[in-house]
Amino acid sequence: MMKWLAIVMLGLMPLFAHAGEAKDLAADPVLEKRMIGLAEKLRCLVCQNESLASSHAELAEDLRREVREQMAQGKNDQEIIDYLVARYGDFVLYEPPMKSYTLLLWFGPFALLLIGVGVLLYQLRKRRRTLPETQLSDEAQKRAAALLNDDKEIR
């Protein structure tokens, strides 16, 4: 009797063992996809090198909830971005906006590239000047040809 009871109870176990994840996805897949799309462009402030979409930090979860709720209220992406920037600053944006203090960030690499090309051109020109073209005399030409053609003489 006890054995049967044990078997029945074991059989019932899976009923209580549900995995409590991804329940948000089921709620509204379209909205969830839109939320993830936006969250990928936003930075998690706790981990700093992870997007809001991939972070497991609690703050990221709260912010995803916030984004989800605001989307459900009918706000557009820009309004939600403005909402987050007003609280956390431009740092939440993975792509920094173009402002006076980010000019160096946006154009610095190109400036460095130009400087590099300039230095390269300068060096090449200088080298051409310091290495004048040498003219070999006929005799020297013949000796050189002989040396190149007859490897015995080189030894």
Binding site: L45, R87, F91
Partner: protein, 175 residues
């Protein structure tokens, strides 16, 4: 001569930038809320859930809003500093207990002393989001007009209290 000077200059510039970088904390993200009115909220108090707290009640006073939680390790480090500060009665400290369990937070105040005039209870972290909280402890210095004037990210210690927070409070008191 140029062969030596140019690399030296490059080296010095690089060294200067790297040296500066040593003293910058990438976790300190400047808050856009500085010089903006402190966001309004009304939440229950931690120790007396029937009462509420809202920053609008604080108009006319310079005060500190300290965001903390019982699960936050640096807050434990900060706690005795706050208790000592509250005993000096220089500036009122209001707490915002962020994403916490009521009984855990109450136990911290019971065991370590309660430096807060009132602790507001932000169970789901929504007030925290409005204040741009991303890592507790954080402390906001709010002036008489209800404007956030400074945000201390990370624990208050005797050094930043002496060098930054208290001089600022004294200045704001005179405004």
């Amino acid at each position: 001569m140029m062969r030596f000077i140019l690399p030296l200059v490059v080296f010095l510039v690089l060294a200067a930038f790297l040296f500066k970088g040593l003293h910058l904390d990438p976790h300190e993200v400047p808050s856009p809320l500085i010089d903006k009115p402190a966001p309004a909220f009304t939440v229950p108090q931690l120790l007396d859930p029937k009462k509420t707290f809202s920053p609008q009640e604080m108009k006319g006073k310079v005060w500190l809003l300290n965001v903390w939680a019982s699960w936050c390790v640096s807050c434990r480090e900060e706690h005795p500093v706050l208790v000592a500060l509250s005993e000096q009665k220089i500036v009122p400290i209001y707490g915002l207990d962020y994403k916490d369990k009521r009984e855990d937070a109450a136990a911290v105040l019971r065991n370590g002393g309660d430096p807060y005039t009132v602790t507001a209870f932000d169970a789901d972290g929504r007030v925290g989001i409005d204040y741009g909280v991303y890592g507790v402890p954080e402390t906001y210095v709010i002036d008489k007009k209800g404007v956030i004037r400074y945000k201390q990210i990370g624990p208050i210690n005797s050094q930043n209290l002496r060098e930054t927070l208290l001089p600022l409070v004294a200045k704001l008191e005179k405004e």
